[in-house]
Amino acid sequence: MSRTVLSRIGTLLAVAIVAFTTFAITVHAAQTITTPNESYFTYNLAAGASSGAITPIANAPVLVQGVQTTLGYRGVGHISLLRVPSSFLEWTGVESPASAAITSGFSGTKGTHILYLDYSHLVDLQVDTTDAFLIHNGNSIAQTGIVTLIW
C-alpha cells in the first residue's frame, strides 16, 4: 500500500473520529440542556438503613414523588416541599395507601416523618437536617423504590 493511500486513510479516519466525537458530545449537551429540572433516585435500602441526605433547591417549590417497588409492600405518595435554608423543611401531600391521608407540616428536627412510600407505612421520607431529608427503611427486609424531585 502506497504512502499516499495510507495518508488518505489516516486523514479520513481522523475526520471520522473528530466528526463522531463532536456529534456525540453536542447531541448529549443539547439533551442535557433541554431536559427539565427533574431528578430520579433509585434506592435499595437494607433493613433499618437510610439513604444519603437529599438537599432540595431552596425557596422554590419542589414536587417529591415516591414509589415503593418491593413486592408485597408497593406504594406511592407525593408531597410539595419548601426548603427554607438553615431553618426548616415545609411540606404538604398525600401518604401512600393503605389509608392514604394528608401529610403536612414543617420541621428541622432529625427523624420527623414526612411521607410514607410503601403500603405498610414502614418506609418513609424523614427530615435529616434543616436543609435535607432522607429515605428511611424501617422494614425488617431490604426495600427498593424510586423517588423523583421536580423543581
Binding site: R8, I25, T35, N37, E38, Y40, G52, I54, A132, W151
Partner: protein, 114 residues
C-alpha cells in the same frame, strides 16, 4: 531600508509559522480540553426526560444536592460542546485541502492543467 525589509520578513515568517504550527496545535488543545471537561462531568443518564442519579449516591450517607449536580452537568456539557464544536470547525477549515484531497483524490492529486 534593508533592516526594515528584514524585520518585515521576520514578522511574515513568524506569522506563517503560527499559521502552520501554532494554530493547529491550539485547535487540538481546545479539542482535547473539551474531551477532558466532558470526561470530568457527572455524566448523568437521562431517562424519561429526567436526570437519573446513580444508585451509589443514595447507597452512601453522603449528602446529595440534585440541583447542584444537574447544574454542574449542564455547565460542563455546554463548555465541552462549545470547545469541541468550535475546535472541530476550526480544524475542518485548517485541514480543508487535506480533507478534500482525501475525500476526492482524483480531483486534488494533480494540479489543474493550463
Amino acid at each position: 531600508m534593508a533592516s526594515r525589509k528584514q524585520s518585515l520578513l521576520s514578522v511574515s515568517v513568524r506569522r506563517n509559522r503560527w499559521r502552520s504550527q501554532g494554530l493547529p496545535l491550539l485547535l487540538w488543545i481546545l479539542f482535547a480540553s473539551g474531551l477532558v471537561i466532558e470526561s470530568l462531568a457527572p455524566r448523568l443518564k437521562i431517562d424519561h426526560r429526567a436526570f437519573v442519579m446513580p444508585e451509589t449516591l443514595t447507597a452512601t450517607s453522603a449528602p446529595i444536592h440534585p440541583d447542584a449536580i444537574v447544574d454542574r452537568e449542564r455547565k460542563m456539557q455546554v463548555a465541552a460542546s462549545l470547545l469541541i464544536l468550535g475546535s472541530a470547525v476550526g480544524l475542518a477549515f485548517f485541514y480543508q485541502r487535506k480533507i478534500m484531497a482525501a475525500l476526492m483524490p482524483d480531483k486534488f492529486s494533480h494540479p489543474p492543467s493550463l
